[in-house]
């Protein structure tokens, strides 16, 4: 029988993780805001010095206004909070597994929690490996917090046993691979969107045209080639994992339903997702498709993945309706 107390502990820990992630997001945002403020202060000072140089009265800016907000301290703190949230999140998933005496990815609520966990893990690895600056965290944590919030309120399921169809060791292999690939893909989708913002921002500023929200956010984003590369690195990692997840699913389907492929809606959408990511990898290597067009393909593929998981489970009748 499932352990109720442990299950509730897991839910409580997930709530804590969401709060910590939200604080981390604010920290990253604070780092960006104060860095921007500091830049404008520097700009003002520079222009004052020009004024001074032109013979006006000398003006000295009080040092406090410049150093009152330390951007790098805010950023480091936010990164530490992300790490803390990650640990709490990990214990939440572990508690779920022990509460239900099984792998903690047996229903949509648990799956969503794991997907978000993989996305945060991938982000932390990218920062640790130096692929990307931590300030990207503000843009990564926002969808993570929203995603977890939605999962906890709309998809909540108490810890319980699995339906017989899911009772197989393949759930460890197939779903673990699907979770890993999905988490990474969703992260790459966010990064591809940010790349699109940044490259549009670059284009407009190069033409000396004004930028409005959300394109104006581009000023705070890493350079376009960095974002393009990060999104590629993450997809290149996730694509073989996704391929493996589909194949493991086919082997499981052969054992459970008597055929390895039957165009069940979930299978169809996994196939569409796979084809779109294959398209992205080819597009990125083809003249005329590199850059923004390829990024749009990555965004479309991430959307297909969301359809594959949420729309198919909730609105389309099929063999995967239980999860």
């Amino acid at each position: 029988m499932p352990d109720k107390g442990l299950g509730q502990l897991g839910d409580g820990l997930l709530f804590t993780a969401v709060v910590v992630y939200a604080l981390a997001m604010l920290g990253f945002a604070g780092e960006q805001a104060s860095r921007k403020a500091r830049q404008s202060v520097t700009a003002v000072r520079d222009s004052t010095q020009v004024l001074v140089g032109s013979g006006g009265p000398s003006v000295t800016l009080p040092a406090e206004t410049v150093t009152s907000l330390n951007p790098s301290r805010a950023g480091r703190f936010a990164l530490a909070l992300t790490g803390l949230g990650w640990l709490v999140h990990l214990s939440s998933i572990t508690a779920r597994g022990f509460a239900a005496h099984r792998v903690p990815w047996g229903n949509m609520y648990e799956f969503s929690s794991c997907v978000a966990f993989v996305a945060v893990t991938a982000f932390l690895v990218l920062v640790a490996r130096g692929y990307v600056e931590r300030s990207l965290g503000a843009f990564v944590m926002l969808p993570v917090v929203l995603y977890l919030g939605l999962a906890a309120t709309k998809l909540y399921t108490a810890a319980g046993p699995l339906v017989p169809a899911l009772n197989s060791y393949w759930i460890k292999i197939h779903v673990a691979a699907a979770v890993t690939a999905s988490g990474a893909f969703q992260l790459s989708g966010v990064v591809a969107l940010l790349y699109l913002l940044r490259s549009r921002y670059d284009e407009l500023t190069a033409a000396e045209r004004p930028t409005r929200f959300p394109v104006s956010l581009g000023a705070q984003l890493p350079a376009a080639p960095v974002l393009d590369r990060v999104s590629y690195v993450v997809i290149a990692f996730a694509f073989p994992v996704w391929t493996f997840a589909i194949i493991a699913g086919a082997i499981w389907a052969e054992a459970a339903w008597g055929r390895y492929w039957g165009w069940d809606p979930k299978e169809t959408w996994s196939f569409i997702t796979w084809v779109l990511y294959a398209g992205y990898l080819h597009a990125r290597a083809t003249a005329g498709w590199k850059g923004r067009k390829a990024a749009w393909v990555a965004v479309a593929a991430a959307c297909a993945l969301i359809v594959d998981y949420y729309v198919v489970n909730i609105f389309v009748v099929g063999l995967h309706s239980y999860a």
Binding site: P161, P240, I247, W257, G258, R259, W263, P265, T268, A278
Partner: protein
């Protein structure tokens, strides 16, 4: 494919076997060749790939005939204007439609057309020595020069262990990461192989389903199945001979009625069913190339019917079809041997019976308070008309109901004395299971292809191909020139190159 287009520096620095863009030439073969190269170009392949994704979308939203014909039927009944139009466009048979087939066949032709020359070029590259040193090394993405002598070449040979190195006089060329293109080709060839495996299964495979009540069985012949789905080139002689007997079926449920386990205890054998085995969900029985799956279950009340003469005219379990998650099931009992009139019964079986406002229902799928509720008829069942009838439906046109059509509820062991003589006894309850037997001779090939797909993909994404050249220019003093390039992950190559230069300058 995953190798990028290259701005050509010279042949040595073209680190790819990708064909150049096609150009229209004159002559008779010119347009043909142009068309072929157009079809096998990356841009066309990319377009076909996106078309393939787009064409699959209706298959992901609309019900499909091959999976669920009943839902297609009800969709057509609900949407009387759009439905037939969609049907004409083969929207309910997306994955066997003309347009879907056209897209994937073109894609695979384009793929093969691209693969063959690339495989040839790659095989040549695998045997060839790394290309000669380009004239100007400083134009490469990574390069360095310093004063040094010919000793550097010996040091380079040592530092470049694991690379393919060739030394030509005062020059040295090295290359590494051939497995990237090998993996790329294996991946794409495996996709073709997978298509072949799927085709073999579709043409030569077989699928049959059969309902078996506890205590009975079936043998793997076309005639024993209730429903069959053979491939176009299927031979009945390819069915693996075996017979199977259902001994006991058990299901367990959580208190809320959610199913926990299904377990069909069977015996099977090539000629006689003697070997015991548990067929469960995720645990099929494999005999040769045939696999037997448990796909459904239900209840079969054991019924004994006597006619007016007192003779037992029916003495067997009757399979009832479940209609709700709590296994309220519909039953039809036909007694054609009853005299002087044939008998027919229709009603419901409820495993855990509740009665509300005079209607019976079931509150739990397990067998707790089983009740068989029946309405009876006497007359002509209409079985001699020559029109085949389903055993699950009763034609009451030539029948007269007992007790004005009033239903009788029977618990296990109870008997209904029919008006005018005869009786029906609900003796006990058995369970039934439906089995699906499949044979797919293309399965193994598909699995081999799947392994090739994943393996090839990993090689083609994670192996980095790169070249390095070293040249010593004689003079007083002589200079060393080093250059290198990699199309994949240039940042990591820069670090690797810097490390190489450090070791060469030691």
């Amino acid at each position: 494919m995953t190798v990028p287009d290259v701005v050509q520096v010279d042949e040595a620095t073209r680190l790819t076997t990708q064909p150049l863009a096609p150009q229209l030439r004159s002559g008779v073969l010119g347009p043909l060749r142009f068309g072929w190269r157009r079809l096998t170009s990356m841009r066309t392949a990319l377009l076909l790939l996106f078309l393939l994704a787009l064409a699959s979308v209706p298959g992901g939203f609309l019900p499909q005939r091959r999976i669920n014909p009943l839902r297609v039927q009800s969709y057509l009944e609900k949407h009387t204007t759009v439905g037939p139009l969609l049907d004409r466009l083969q929207m309910f048979d997306v994955f066997s439609s003309a347009w879907f087939s056209a897209i994937y066949l073109l894609l695979f032709i384009s793929l093969v057309g691209c693969l063959l020359p690339r495989t040839r070029l790659h095989l040549r590259a695998l045997r060839a020595a790394p290309p000669a040193v380009p004239k100007v090394l400083t134009r490469l993405p990574a390069s360095d020069t310093w004063e040094g002598d010919a000793d550097v070449l010996a040091r380079a040979e040592k530092a470049l262990r694991g690379w393919r190195v060739v030394r030509r006089g005062d020059e040295l060329s090295a290359e590494r990461g051939y497995l990237r293109e090998t993996g790329n080709l294996v991946f794409h060839l495996s996709l073709v192989l997978l298509l072949v495996g799927i085709a073999v299964g579709a043409f030569r495979g077989f699928k049959g389903t059969v309902l078996v009540v506890e205590g009975t069985g079936f043998s793997n012949t076309v005639a024993s199945y209730d429903d069959i789905n053979p491939g176009r080139r299927f031979h009945p002689s390819s069915l693996v001979p075996f017979t199977l007997q259902l001994q006991d079926f058990r299901a367990t449920y959580a208190p809320d009625g959610k199913a926990l386990t299904f377990d069909a205890q069977v015996t099977w054998g090539r000629t006689q069913a003697t070997t015991p085995y548990d067929v469960r969900v995720n645990h099929p029985l494999a005999v040769g190339g045939a696999k037997t799956y448990l796909i459904g279950h239900g209840y079969a009340p054991f019924v004994r019917v006597r006619d007016r003469t007192g003779a037992v005219v029916l003495d067997q379990p009757v399979a009832c079809l479940p209609q709700t998650p709590q296994f309220l099931s519909t039953c039809v009992i036909k007694v054609p041997d009853a005299a002087p009139q044939q008998l027919g019964f229709r009603g419901a079986f409820t495993p855990t019976t509740i009665t509300q406002d005079g209607r019976v229902g079931s509150s739990f799928p397990g067998l707790v308070r089983p009740v068989l509720t029946l309405v009876g008829w006497a007359g002509d069942l209409g079985l001699d008309g020559g029109v085949p009838q389903s055993v699950y439906s009763l034609d009451t046109t030539a029948l007269k109901p007992f007790d004005k059509g009033q239903a009788h509820a029977l618990s296990e062991g109870q008997t209904w004395q029919l008006p005018g003589g005869g009786s029906l006894t609900y003796v006990g309850t058995r369970e039934w299971a439906t089995f699906q037997v499949t044979q797919d001779p293309g399965k193994r090939l598909a699995l081999v292809a799947a392994v090739g797909i994943v393996g090839g993909l990993m090689l083609s994404l994670f192996v980095r191909r790169r070249r390095v050249w070293v040249r010593v220019r004689p003079g007083a003093p002589s200079t060393v020139e080093v250059g290198g390039l990699s199309r994949t992950d240039p940042e990591r190559f820069q670090a690797e190159f810097a490390e190489l230069v450090r070791r060469l300058r030691e």
